[in-house]
Amino acid sequence: MVDHLFRRQAGRMVAVLTRSLGAAHLDLAEEVVQEALVQALRRWPFMGVPDNPAGWLYRVARNLALDRLRRDARFRERLAEIRRHLPEADEPGGEPALAGEMTHDQLRLIFLCCHPEIPRDGRVALTLKAVCGFGVREIARAFLVRETTVAQRLVRAQRRIRERGLPLEVPGPEEITGRLDSVLEVLYLVFNEGYAAHAGDDLVREGLCRDALAWCEHLAAAPSTRGPAVHALAALLCFQASRLPARVDAGGNLVLLEDQDRRLWDRPLIARGFRHLERASAGETLDAYHVQAAIAAHHAGAPAHGDTDWPAILALYDRLLEMNPSPVVALNRAVALAQVEGPAAGLEALEAAAGHPALAGYALLPATRGELHRRLGEHAAAAACYREALGRPCSEPERRFLMRRLDAALSARP
């Protein structure tokens, strides 16, 4: 079976069924799809995997849906109509669910799940569940929240869809911009969650990145949704994703940007990033995705770490900080500043951002401070910072990285 087949096929089936059942019955579509997958799980070990697994799953889900509708009074009057509209078989070709493919039904579904009237954390959870086919436990692990929290967010999001009668449709030209912003924000969050690697297993994280990128590129190609902001985000995600193969070594250890083997970067993906970036500059608008994509492009385009154009990157961070004065941006700007003016200047800029409560549990703040002290040869101060960073939530590879740096700082002390 193709990797991620169940997950992707689940998303496709939920989208097809929801179109026929109506947005208010998204939960029913999800239940039926889950049941179809469980049937496969219980039957395939005995009968073997069918020749067309996706088609098998769809057939079973469709029959289960019709069974449920027959028993449910709410659907009695619409049953014949729904049956007519539920496609007999999965889309022609049968074998679906490859990265990058998105049916029009899924496009509609993603606009429903990212509707601005749904609370933000609910949008992310619902998109991951209904559109991407992730389970509650996987979502909880990726976002470091409890399963019950995710379940609550999902229930509230579904209720909001029903109560407000939110539509299952791709918005028309008059409202597409605002609605698209919300979709892009969710894709950005999903990608970052996969990229930042707080916790969870590799497969899930890689899946988050790949789905977010694939769908962003789909939006960038579709006539109803394409535009400069979508291309800018697609460019950013291409550049970031191109480094995935180089960020972790064979032992599962974190490799910093400056130490990465740039031959491992995904060149075709970088080329795609530059094509998106070109199209992103077509319009009048310039938003935060443009600036972030431009920063990522500087890294992607530098043949070696020493060739990086830090002054240009610093100027872009200045710009980004104006648009989005967040402490995380300030932290990244301080890193760029340290490259241009030296570690002491970087430390000074860092202190200005450090007091922000949003960074209170952020391991990267003390880790960065430690790195700048290290470059100044202040090993005792560096060691204290690494210790502080280790006390904050971080992934296993990050923790091992900080331990190595801490050991080095301790043994370097005179």
Binding site: M1, H4, L5, V38, R42, F46, V49
Partner: protein, 116 residues
């Protein structure tokens, strides 16, 4: 060589919380396991039993009584069976010990076919 009947009990409700990705992983494991069993000539047959319905027949005082099954008191039901060739119970137990079914909370009951 004796043939053994392995009855696989499971609790369908336990699977309801699994994610699609987790379910696919389990199926892949099963596939690898049963391919190995067929390749080695150990697996003779395997079949899934249909869920949700069954009948239990009894004749009391010459009168047939038919009850609906399966047997709702127990949470676990027989999901299907494998027929396996092995030299002894020791060997068939070894063969079944790495059956993915056990890894996911199921129970396996093994009996030898009486060939005498």
């Amino acid at each position: 060589m004796p043939t053994y009947l392995a009855l696989l009990y499971d609790s369908p409700t336990d699977f309801a919380d699994l994610s699609p990705q987790e379910m696919q992983a389990i199926i892949e494991k099963y596939r690898a396991w049963s391919n190995r069993m067929y390749d080695k000539g150990i697996m003779v047959a395997g079949q899934k039993l249909k869920d949700g319905e069954g009948r239990v027949l009894r004749a009391a005082k010459g009168k047939l009584r038919v009850l609906d099954g399966p047997f709702s008191e127990t949470k676990e039901v027989v999901g299907g069976y494998f027929a396996l060739k092995a030299d002894s119970y020791d060997q068939v137990v070894k063969i079944l010990a790495d059956c993915p079914h056990l890894e996911y909370g199921g129970t396996v009951e093994v009996r030898e076919f009486d060939s005498n």
